[in-house]
Symmetry: D2
Subunit: 187 residues, 4 copies
């Protein structure tokens, strides 16, 4: 069984909903199985036991949530030192109020998670624009669930964004199934 670890932090439950939708997507793929953990619960062993990792974060001030970053600094740094994750598979997703008309900082939020995975030597799975509901649920780096309306009032992430998170989970799982066992980064 190919394990996909889904890691998240959440303030109001929006990123959490997307995390569980991604898990549903993973579990819909034969041979893949999702494990969902909060950022402060993840251990190095969880990472090593997984063939793929999906991380979700609220967008705070245009970058990753500090709890997710704490996981990266304290758990991933050691894995990087020891080259433990090379050739595995990674993806990201976010949610946020998105005040303004342009994602409210989700790009740098996603990139400040993706560069961690690049440092870990992991293949990065993007979100293709012909993904169903893309137009309401994401950008090229991954699913994005807008959780507030134009005026900043909380409305929760849409069903469309949830469905995109599910698709992304399945995409990451399929990539992991294809990649697992292959030697990409030969010496």
């Amino acid at each position: 069984m190919t394990q996909v670890l889904i890691i998240y932090a959440s303030d109001y439950g929006n990123t959490e909903k997307m995390a569980y939708a991604a898990a549903e997507g993973v579990n819909s793929v034969a041979g893949a199985s999702a494990v969902v953990k909060k950022a402060d619960e993840v251990t190095a062993e969880d990472m090593v036991a997984s063939q793929a990792v999906l991380v979700g974060s609220p967008v705070h001030m245009g970058a990753v949530d500090w709890r997710v970053k704490k996981f990266i600094d304290t758990v991933c740094s050691g894995l990087w030192m020891q080259d433990m994750m090379n050739g595995k598979v990674a993806g990201v997703f976010t949610s946020g109020g998105g005040f303004g008309s342009a994602g409210g900082g989700t790009e740098i939020a996603m990139l400040s998670m993706l560069n961690n995975f690049a440092e870990l030597g992991m293949l990065i799975v993007p979100l293709p624009k012909n993904t169903e509901n893309y137009k309401k649920g994401g950008l090229h780096w991954g699913p994005y669930g807008r959780s507030a309306d134009e005026n900043g009032q909380p409305v929760g992430v849409s069903a469309e964004a949830i469905s995109v998170a599910k698709k992304h989970g399945a995409n990451v799982a399929r990539t992991a199934l294809v990649i697992t066992g292959a030697t990409i980064f030969a010496a």
Copy 2:
């Protein structure tokens, strides 16, 4: 008179409209005057003669339009070599179809212009969230005019986005008026 140079490329006239709105904002500030040029018309002399520069670009594939980048590579590189723009003022704006729900790549588009200005030693003017119409016209790095609807059909940039571009032009002009003559980067 403090000159603010506004530089743009445009495919369907959207970025151009925002450029002229920014110019209107500049000209609304006493003591400031806008000069508007297409990216392929700008010379090093135009840059040196200006106390501030605003650059606008369509978002193409999540980054700056190649015509704007050609201006940066061919005109700005030389100014950087000679430290000719240190202590001046800069800002950016973009327009784009924005397919998806999160700005369609405008952040890296804006940052791949802003880092040019950082290299030139110029102070960067952001767009505060309490700017009138911010909720329909931008993000923290500058005004963003979405030019297509959710399904990708062209609808032109909104009056709100145009008004934000005008405000940003005025903000940049006011900053230039305050900064001009000051010695910020002393030896």
Copy 3:
């Protein structure tokens, strides 16, 4: 007196040394005064009382240290909600082992702090390339102190990087002195 708040996190004392060098630079400017605080000690009142803010972070996995991000998420978010920092001045600096030949991720580390300041509506001060010792101490977004040698052995940040941090502190202070009292973001 124009107050410049210098905020940092540090693991082995390198970023801390740069913070105190930046403070020395601030204090070298007549009319400016530095206050230095660790990221977990800063309050909203500290921010509001300051005309400029400099933040320094170790580079961890290509992005900002989680303790600095916690400060941003918990202290800066509220200031953003209330538009309390508009028109003030900001800068950043980092240190890091920099394994590889290209800064080891300092750009996204710096940008994931700078976009916080952009969201807060603060003017961003870059680091001009003709700054003394630039060639050993930074990049366009700010001072960078490499703290390890090519093989990853800790060597501490160089005297040159320290001197660049000092210059950057003075640049930020001078900008704050010029800007303070001016109305840049008029309604």
Copy 4:
């Protein structure tokens, strides 16, 4: 035969050398074959005929060379519209003078190419830190060849950076061989 298309622009031959080294790496992998083209020679047909794409660019003012961006804007935009590249494999590399101590802007240069590939729905291959010669030839997003010394004098890219480009080419080829024929982005 799995075709890997290597695309580059070059001013002084440094990026070109890295492109041909990457091609050598591709050709060292059984079943893979490299095609090398300058950015202004690439057609949509070249892209469609390839299972993987590697793009190399000089770093100019902290972002991608305008000739590479012209290729992206004029050739890749159409492929994005038609979802023609989904599930293929991508990587990047750069060279540059790197004035300063931190890569001179290569991160945003690389990211302003990588986000194009993310938009095209392509899997992104990073550069693991245990790649031979990594310490002299790159960062997590790909190989970086510094072409000038500390004082900005041209010295050409090092043999180590060339060797990293070769490794990266082989990594991308192996990934393409594993991925080709798999259905990752199912409807």
